[in-house]
C-alpha cells in the first residue's frame, strides 16, 4: 500500500500514470468511432473499396494542366483537379503577398491619405466572408464584361469577355534552343556577378549597381540570341470561331474571380501581419539606421524588414494555408478544383463518399503540411541566431 501511495506521491511517476490514462481514453474513443463506422457500413450493406479510382471518370473538365479526356480514370480526374487547386493557390499566394506587403507598408506611411485608404481597404476586405468575395468577383466578371461576340478587343490580339480572358500564346519554332542557352548563360552570369559584388562590397565598401546590370544582361542576352536565330517564336492569336474564342491562352472567369477574391481577401490579413512585424522592430533600430545616413528605402530594406521577417513568417504561413484551403470554395462558381472533381462529380458518380472524402482530406492535409514544412524551414533560416 505504501508502495502504491509512494508511486502516486512521486511527481514523475504520477505524471506517467496520468498520461497513460489519457492515452487509454483517446484510444478507446478512437476504436469506438472506427467500430461504429464499420458496423454502420455493414448495416448499410456498403464496403470500403478504392477500385473506383481506376474506372473511367466519364465527365469532362474545363481546365486541365495535364492531358485529360472523359475516358481517363477518376484518379486522373482527381489529379487534374488537384493541379487546378495548386494553380489557383499559387496565383492567389503571389497576388496576396505582393498586395499584402505593399498595403502593410502603405498603412504605416506618414501620408495621411495613403494610410487611411489602406486602412479602409483592410477593414472592409477582411470583415466580409470569403465566399461573398468569390461570388462578387465572379458576378462582376460575367455580368459586366461583354459576350464573346462583342468582346473588348485590345489591338486585335487580346480579348476580354465574360467567357474569360484570351491572350496570344507563344509557340516555339526551330532555333529556340539558342535562346534558352543564352538565357541560362545570363542567369549564371547574374548569380556569379551578384556574389562577386557582395564580396567586393564586404571587403572594400565599393558598390556596383548590381540590379541594373543583371537586369540588362538577363534581357539583352536572350534578345540577341532571339534576333540571331531568326526570331523563332510565333504567336497563336485567339480568334472568334462559332460560340467562343479558340486558340491563344485562356483564363476562365472562374479562375480569374477565384484568384482576385483569394488574393485580395488574404492580402488584407497579410497587410496587418506585415504592419505588426514592422512595428515589432524597436524604433531605436530605425533611428540608428537613419543616424548613419541611410536613405529611408535602405532603412526599410536593410534594417527593418530583415528583423520584421522573423515576426512575420509564422503567421504568414497560416495565411498561405488558409488561402489554399479556402480555394476549395471554388465549387460555388464552377471552378473544377480537387473538391469539385474527386470530391464532387466522382463522388456522385460512384457513390463512394467515405473513400473520396478521406482521399480529399489526406491530400489537403499533405499539401498544408508541405507548405508548413517549407515555411518552417525558411523561418529557421532567418530566425535570430543566438550567440
Amino acid at each position: 500500500m505504501s508502495f502504491l501511495s509512494n508511486i502516486w506521491r512521486n511527481e514523475k511517476s504520477r505524471e506517467i500514470i496520468v498520461q497513460i490514462f489519457v492515452l487509454l481514453c483517446i484510444g478507446w474513443f478512437l476504436s469506438w468511432l472506427i467500430s461504429n463506422v464499420d458496423a454502420n457500413f455493414k448495416a448499410l450493406g456498403k464496403d470500403i473499396s478504392f477500385e473506383f479510382l481506376f474506372i473511367p471518370a466519364g465527365y469532362d473538365i474545363n481546365q486541365y494542366l495535364i492531358d485529360y479526356n472523359n475516358r481517363d480514370s477518376h484518379l486522373r480526374a482527381g489529379i487534374v483537379g488537384l493541379l487546378n487547386t495548386g494553380l489557383v493557390a499559387v496565383f492567389g499566394i503571389i497576388l496576396a503577398t505582393v498586395l499584402g506587403i505593399s498595403l502593410g507598408i502603405i498603412r504605416l506611411s506618414k501620408n495621411w491619405l495613403a494610410s487611411k485608404i489602406a486602412y479602409w481597404y483592410i477593414e472592409f476586405t477582411r470583415n466580409v466572408p470569403i465566399l461573398l468575395h468569390i461570388l462578387l468577383w465572379h458576378g462582376i466578371i460575367i455580368n459586366t464584361l461583354p459576350h464573346p461576340r462583342k468582346a473588348l478587343n485590345l489591338a486585335d490580339v487580346t480579348f476580354l469577355s465574360n467567357r474569360g480572358f484570351y491572350i496570344p500564346k507563344p509557340l516555339t519554332e526551330n532555333g529556340i534552343e539558342l535562346v534558352y542557352l543564352f538565357l541560362v548563360i545570363a542567369i549564371i552570369f547574374s548569380v556569379l556577378f551578384f556574389k562577386y559584388a557582395k564580396k567586393k562590397q564586404d571587403l572594400t565598401g565599393v558598390q556596383y549597381p548590381v540590379f541594373w546590370i543583371n537586369f540588362f544582361v538577363l534581357i539583352s542576352l536572350p534578345l540577341i540570341a532571339f534576333v540571331i536565330s531568326g526570331m523563332p517564336i510565333s504567336l497563336e492569336i485567339p480568334a472568334l470561331k462559332g460560340f467562343n474564342f479558340r486558340g491563344g491562352m485562356h483564363m476562365s472567369p472562374e479562375l480569374a474571380a477565384l484568384t482576385f477574391a483569394l488574393g485580395i481577401y488574404t492580402a488584407a490579413f497579410i497587410a496587418e501581419i506585415v504592419r505588426a512585424g514592422i512595428l515589432a522592430v524597436d524604433k531605436g533600430q530605425r533611428e540608428a539606421a537613419e543616424s548613419i545616413g541611410l536613405k529611408s528605402s535602405k532603412v526599410m530594406k536593410l534594417v527593418i524588414l530583415p528583423q520584421a521577417r522573423r515576426v512575420i513568417i509564422p503567421p504568414l504561413t497560416s495565411q498561405y494555408l488558409n488561402l489554399t484551403k479556402n480555394s476549395s470554395l471554388a465549387i460555388a462558381i464552377g471552378y473544377m478544383d480537387l473538391v469539385a472533381t474527386l470530391g464532387g462529380i466522382s463522388l456522385n458518380q460512384t457513390g463512394r463518399e467515405m473513400e473520396t472524402m478521406v482521399i480529399v482530406m489526406l491530400i489537403y492535409l499533405s499539401v498544408s503540411l508541405s507548405i508548413s514544412a517549407f515555411m518552417n524551414w525558411y523561418n529557421n533560416k532567418v530566425k535570430l541566431v543566438g550567440r
Binding site: L44, Y59, D60, G139, N162, R163, F243, N348, L365
Partner: protein, 340 residues
C-alpha cells in the same frame, strides 16, 4: 498524422449512423411523421409556394406515402438535398424516401445499395438555348459553353453526346439549379442542360420564357422515381404500391372527387373494390397498411393524372405534355400490375 485522419474519417462515419434496425414503417409510425428528401427548389416538382408550403409533383408523392402509412397526407417533414448530397442523406437516415427526380441507373441501384421502387416520370436530357443564338439543333453546338447542374447523370450524358458527335464543348459545372440559371441568364454559357422537365421548369420562371427554347434532341433516357434504402422489403413495397395505386386510380377512373362514393358502394369492376378496401385485398396486412390505404392516397392527394396536371400539365406555367408519362392504353409507358 495517422490518428488525425482516422479521427476525421471516423467522425464522418458517425454521421452515417442511421437507425437501420427497427422496420422503417415502425419508425415512421412511432414518429407520427414521414421524413421525405426533396429537391432544393425546382418549379413544378418541389418548390415552396407563397405561403412557404412545399408543393409539386415530387412533394405530392411524399404526401401520398404519408396518406397510405399514417392516414394523413400532411404529416410529412421535408428535407432538401442537392444532387450531390441526396444519396448520402438517404443512406444516413435523414429521410425514409428520396423523392427528388432521381434517375434510375444500374450502378445507383446495385452499387450504392439503394432500391428504386418504380418510375414516376420518364424524362430525358435536353438543351435550352436563347432563341437569339440562332441554333436549331443540338448538333450545332460545337464549341459552346455549357452550364451543367452538377452531381447528376447529366455530365456523363453530355460527355458522351459531344464525343459521339465529334464536337467540343466547355463545361461549367454548377451546384444548384438556381445558380446555374443565373449564369445562363448572364451569358456565361450558351446552353443550359439538364433533364427536359427541369428545363421547362427553369424556363417557366424566367421573365421572358418566349426568348428561350428547348432544342429537339433528347440525348438520354432518364427514368425518374422514388428511392428507398436497401434492405427493408416491406417499406420498398409500400412505396412502390403507393405509386402504382395512384396510376391504378387513373386507369380505373378513381379521382379525389369520386373516391369516397366509389369506396362506399359495390362496384361492378371488382378491381376498384379491392383497391379501395371494399373487397379483401390479400396481403395488405403484411404491408402493415389499413384497408383504406388507397382511399387515403387518392382522396387526399389524387390519382396520377390529377397530380401531373396540377403540378406540370398544360394549365401550369410548365406546360408539359403527358408524352410517355401516361397509361399504356393512351400511348404511354405506365403498365400497372393487376391489383389482385
Amino acid at each position: 498524422m495517422k490518428t488525425k485522419i482516422l479521427l476525421a474519417a471516423a467522425t464522418a462515419g458517425v454521421m452515417f449512423a442511421g437507425s437501420v434496425l427497427a422496420s422503417t414503417l415502425d419508425d415512421v409510425r412511432a414518429r407520427g411523421k414521414l421524413n421525405c428528401i426533396i429537391n432544393t427548389g425546382l418549379a413544378g416538382f418541389a418548390a415552396p409556394d407563397d405561403k412557404g408550403k412545399w408543393t409539386g409533383f415530387d412533394v405530392d408523392f411524399c404526401r401520398a406515402v404519408a396518406a397510405a402509412t399514417l392516414g394523413d397526407a400532411d404529416k410529412v417533414n421535408y428535407t432538401t438535398a442537392t444532387g450531390k448530397t441526396r444519396f448520402t442523406k438517404l443512406a444516413a437516415g435523414e429521410g425514409e424516401i428520396l423523392s427528388r427526380n432521381t434517375t434510375w441507373t444500374f450502378s445507383r441501384d446495385v452499387d450504392l445499395s439503394q432500391t428504386f421502387v418504380g418510375v414516376s416520370y420518364y424524362d430525358g436530357q435536353g438543351f435550352m438555348v436563347p432563341k437569339a443564338l440562332g441554333v436549331k439543333s443540338a448538333k450545332g453546338l460545337d464549341g459552346a459553353s455549357v452550364c451543367i447542374q452538377t452531381g447528376t447523370t447529366t455530365e456523363l450524358n453530355l460527355a458522351e453526346f459531344f464525343a459521339g458527335n465529334g464536337m467540343k464543348y466547355n463545361p461549367v459545372p454548377i451546384e444548384t439549379n438556381a445558380e446555374a440559371q443565373e449564369l445562363y441568364k448572364a451569358g456565361r454559357c450558351d446552353v443550359y442542360t439538364t433533364d427536359a422537365s427541369g428545363l421547362y421548369a427553369t424556363m417557366s420562371s424566367f421573365d421572358n420564357p418566349a426568348d428561350h427554347m428547348v432544342l429537339p434532341e433528347i440525348v438520354s433516357k432518364e427514368p425518374l422515381g422514388p428511392v428507398v434504402r436497401h434492405g427493408d422489403d416491406q417499406w420498398a413495397d409500400i412505396v412502390a404500391w403507393t405509386l402504382k395505386a395512384m396510376m391504378a386510380g387513373e386507369e380505373l377512373g378513381i379521382t379525389s372527387a369520386n373516391v369516397k362514393s366509389l369506396a362506399g358502394k359495390d362496384n361492378k369492376n371488382k378491381e376498384i373494390n379491392r383497391l379501395l378496401g371494399k373487397d379483401p385485398l390479400q396481403g395488405i396486412s403484411k404491408l402493415g397498411l389499413s384497408a383504406d390505404w388507397a382511399v387515403n392516397i387518392i382522396g387526399q392527394v389524387g390519382n396520377y393524372e390529377e397530380v401531373f396536371e396540377k403540378n406540370l400539365g398544360m394549365s401550369t406555367p410548365l406546360k408539359i405534355a403527358r408524352g410517355m408519362n401516361q397509361l399504356y392504353r393512351d400511348g404511354g409507358l405506365f403498365y400497372i400490375p393487376p391489383i389482385k
